[in-house]
Every structure is written in structure tokens, then in C-alpha cells.
Assembly symmetry: C2
Homo-oligomer: 214 residues x 2
DNA sequence: AGCGCGCTGTGAACACGGTCACAACGTGAA
DNA sequence: TTCACGTTGTGACCGTGTTCACAGCGCGCT
């Protein structure tokens, strides 16, 4: 297991969601879980869960299952840097405001540290307790907050420019809501969330579903 | 090719995005495209594009490429029902408002036809030109608008109940923003958009990216 | 008219993630 | 103490989606 080339994307994704179930178990005072319980709370089979945990090197015990608190901490060590993750948001429009409302109140290991917009009227204002900064403060604030992730909620035309600006400031991870493919250096991770495409896909599949199976 | 079991999900997804590039070509007066041009505008190789178009049965001509207008119409016939797709939105909170702002002004083949909320103060009000209805009007309005897709922007605790309610009204496609797995009949298509997980994934990958390759 | 280039269409090979199936083992009951 | 059960850990297998590689062909150039 070399240090740069890490776990598969799909596994990381499931780790994120396993955490939710594990937290709920902890809240309920349930000290141990079986693979089939974790599987039921996700889109997964018991074998898949065991495989994921094997991949990250976490062992359970036969007839007892996995230790909830131990696994939660183990996953946290993989996913979370010691000081949590800071993100910056670009574009405080309709979508940006919703994101701010959600990720600033959150005490999770991940939060939005600062927001930016190009519109002069918005700059300086505060939105859900977060001050909106001008774009020329980007480099300084990324450095100060040690932000490692950038969120793009700007119009499609501006997205690539803003992405490259973020990369120039040292950001290596992006979440892009704009409906365009960004051309980025290969060491930058970008997750596209394309709500329009998701809706179109679902509409398509809904139209072509077989009448009723289960 | 039987009528129920249709194209793979990934292909449908790419068809949605090919359309964007094709529309841009049309706007620019470009009558034909090559597979490598479509590929460059997407996360795809030329072979992948050709394979997709082969899958849907659209032919180009060597040395001339694909006819932009023809392909656009061909994809439209696959993705869009004749009258467009109507969706209903459940939960007009921070996220719901952003979605309304985007998908009501849109003249696209897909639009939000009605919004619903449980909070008495919100019901009856209008948001971005869309009236907010009470939940007990759901069945009637789904029937009247012929909505085929439901969008869940409600708190996690309410998501599964609301999903089942939509299904009971005849909706067969869902887009779910709540961070829970929905247990649904197998003939219902559900696309989960889990923004928190996307952020966590990106943060993870950004931390473990190799220093610099390209 | 003839030639060569560059594209399309596609069978075959490949890679990856997911699933199966089973040996190993700890636990609790008798 | 012994046994039966249920769960984990994992090698082998399988299916799907992606890429390779090349034959076939039309266009434009000479
Ligand atoms: N709202 C939705 O539900 C929705 C759905 C699908 C896709 N999207 C996409 O998400 C993005 C944002 O959508 P929105 O609805 O919030 O749009 P919006 O127009 O409401 O907001 C865009 C914001 O970005 C700011 N902006 C513009 N250029 C900028 C720049 N260069 N740097 C920083 N800020 C800049 C604007 O001032 C504005 O505040 C768009 O690309 C849109 O296509 C949104
Ligand atoms: N806002 C974000 O950026 C964001 C990010 C990640 C996930 N989410 C998820 O999206 C969902 C919505 O987020 P939000 O920020 O808009 O929350 P919000 O609290 O602002 O809005 C929720 C809305 O749903 C309404 N509601 C509650 N129960 C309902 C019911 N049974 N039927 C209809 N409406 C009901 C409430 O009245 C409220 O208007 C949540 O599940 C949240 O976890 C949001």
C-alpha cells in the first residue's frame, strides 16, 4: 500500500456513508455491528461491506461483528485530517446561499471557511454568518484558512477561470456545480454535481421502467 | 432492443451532456462534429463517443463526422417525452428555493411544475413564481401536471415517508438530496445527490493526490 | 481518375468492481 | 467439554463498461 495511491473512489464514498450509520449505532448505544446491518443501510451487500473493511485493513470478529466506536475512529483517521477540512465557496447566488446555510452551521469535520462573489453589491455583506469576500482576497484567505477544497457555484462561463484561480492558490480538490467540463491539471480532483443531468437521467429511467416487479 | 430494458445509465448520462456541446455547435453554426471533438468536451475518449452513438444507433460519415442537428434531434427523441418532463419539488427550504430559482425560469424540456412544503407559514406563499402547496394537494397536482419525477429537498427524517408518498401518487423517478438511503420498490428510479459525501470524497482525494504529474 | 488521409464502425481484449462460496473461528448452549 | 451456529476474511469468478486496433470507406487533392 503506497502512500500516494490510495483507496478506490467507490470505497471512499461508502466509507463516508458507513460513518452515518455507525454514528447512529453509537447514539443508540449499540456497541457492535454485523456486515449485513451496515449493508442494509446502504446500497450494498454484506460481502461488499466486508470487502471494504478488508481493503482499509479493519478486522472484526466472527460471531461478534465489528466494534462500532473503533471502526468509526478508524474511518475518521482515513477520511479526516486532524484539524478538519476547510472549503471555500465561489459564487453566492441561489445555490451558494443554500450551501452556506448548510455547511457553516455544521459542526462536522468539514465546513465552509469563506465565501466569494464578483458582484460588488454582495461583497462585504454577510450570508448565514459568513462574510462575502471579493475575489482578489482569494489567495490570502485560502492561505489563512488552509482551505483544501473549492466549491464552484458560479455561472458556467466563469467556472473554468475560477477553477484555475483556485488551483493557482494551491487548492487541489474541487466540487463543481456548473454544467461544464473543467480542464484541469491531473493532480486536481474534481467532482461534478450536475443536477440537471441527474434530473434528466431519472426522467429517462422513470419513463422506461418496467411496469412493476417488486 | 426491447422496449423496457434500455440504454445503460452511463450512456444516458453522457447523452445528456453531449446535447450541451451539440447545442453550442449549432449556435456557432458548426454543422458537423467529429467524435474527438465531442470527447474533448467531456470526460471521454473518441472511442467512447463512437460506442455511445453506435449503441443508440446513430451513424456518422467517415471524413465528415456526425450531423449536429440530426444528432441533437435523435438524442432528444430518446431523452425527452413529447411534452417535456414535469417534476414536483418537496421541501422549499434553502436548497429547495435554489432549485426553484433554477428550474422554473428554465425553458428546457424539464421543469418544476409545483412545490410543496409542510410548514404552514410557507404554504400558499409564492417562491420564484411558483406557488407552494400543502402536502395534501400532492396527489391531485401530480395527476394534473402529469409529473413523473419527484425532487426531495426535505430533512433526512422525512425523506423516506415523502418518497413513498410520491410513489403512491404514481411518481416513478426520484432525485434525493437527503443523506439517507431510501428503501423503495424496485421499479422506482432514485438518484441520490449527496453533497456532503461529494465534499468529503474530494477532500480525501485532494489530500492524497500525488504531488504533481501534468 | 487515382491516391492518400483521417474518420467511422466494431469485434476482441481488457480492467475493474462486485459477488460467490467456503474455510476458519469464536461464542453460547447443552 | 463438546457441538452447532453464525459471522468474518478472502481467493476465485463474473459481468459490465471502457479501450484497443484495424478494416472499410468517402472526400479532397493532384
Ligand atoms: N440553482 C440550482 O438549482 C442549480 C441547478 C443546476 C445547476 N446550477 C448551476 O450552479 C451554478 C450556480 O447557480 P445559481 O442558481 O446559484 O446561479 P446564480 O446566478 O443565482 O448565482 C451565481 C452567483 O455567482 C456570482 N458570480 C458570477 N461570476 C462570478 C465569478 N467569476 N466569481 C465569483 N462569483 C461569481 C454571481 O454574482 C452570483 O451571485 C450555475 O452554474 C448553475 O448552472 C444551479
Ligand atoms: N442546503 C444544502 O446545501 C444541503 C447540502 C447537503 C444536503 N442537504 C440536504 O437537503 C435537504 C434539504 O436541505 P435544506 O438546507 O433545504 O433544509 P431546510 O431545513 O432549509 O429546508 C427543509 C424544508 O423542508 C420542509 N419540510 C420538512 N418536512 C417536510 C415534509 N415532510 N414535507 C415537505 N416539506 C417538509 C421544511 O419546512 C423546510 O422548508 C436536507 O435533507 C439536507 O440534509 C442540503
Amino acid at each position: 500500500m503506497n502512500s500516494t495511491n490510495h483507496y478506490p473512489d467507490r470505497t471512499v464514498e461508502r466509507l463516508c456513508t458507513y460513518r452515518r450509520t455507525l454514528r447512529r449505532c453509537l447514539d443508540e448505544g449499540k456497541p457492535r455491528v454485523f456486515s449485513h446491518e451496515l449493508a442494509a443501510a446502504h446500497q450494498a451487500t454484506p460481502a461488499q461491506v466486508r470487502r471494504d473493511l478488508m481493503t482499509i485493513g479493519f478486522s472484526g470478529s466472527p460471531a461478534r461483528g465489528y466494534d462500532v466506536a473503533g471502526l468509526l475512529e478508524y474511518i475518521g483517521d482515513i477520511l479526516d485530517p486532524p484539524d478538519g477540512t476547510a472549503a471555500v465557496l465561489l459564487g453566492v447566488g441561489h445555490l451558494g446561499r443554500a450551501l452556506l446555510a448548510h455547511f457553516t452551521r455544521d459542526r462536522s469535520p468539514l465546513h465552509v471557511a469563506a465565501a466569494f462573489d464578483i458582484t460588488p453589491e454582495k461583497v462585504g455583506a454577510s450570508c448565514h454568518g459568513c462574510t462575502i469576500h471579493p475575489l482578489d482576497a482569494l489567495e490570502r484567505i485560502v492561505a489563512e484558512t488552509h482551505a483544501t477544497v473549492g466549491i464552484l457555484a458560479v455561472p458556467a462561463e466563469a467556472a473554468e477561470d475560477m477553477a484555475l484561480k483556485l488551483v493557482a492558490c494551491g487548492v487541489r480538490g474541487l466540487v463543481n456545480f456548473a454544467p461544464v467540463l473543467l480542464h484541469l491539471p491531473s493532480d486536481v480532483t474534481c467532482e461534478d454535481i450536475d443536477i440537471t443531468v441527474s434530473l434528466e437521467k431519472v426522467a429517462y429511467h422513470a419513463r422506461h421502467a418496467e411496469p412493476r416487479v417488486a
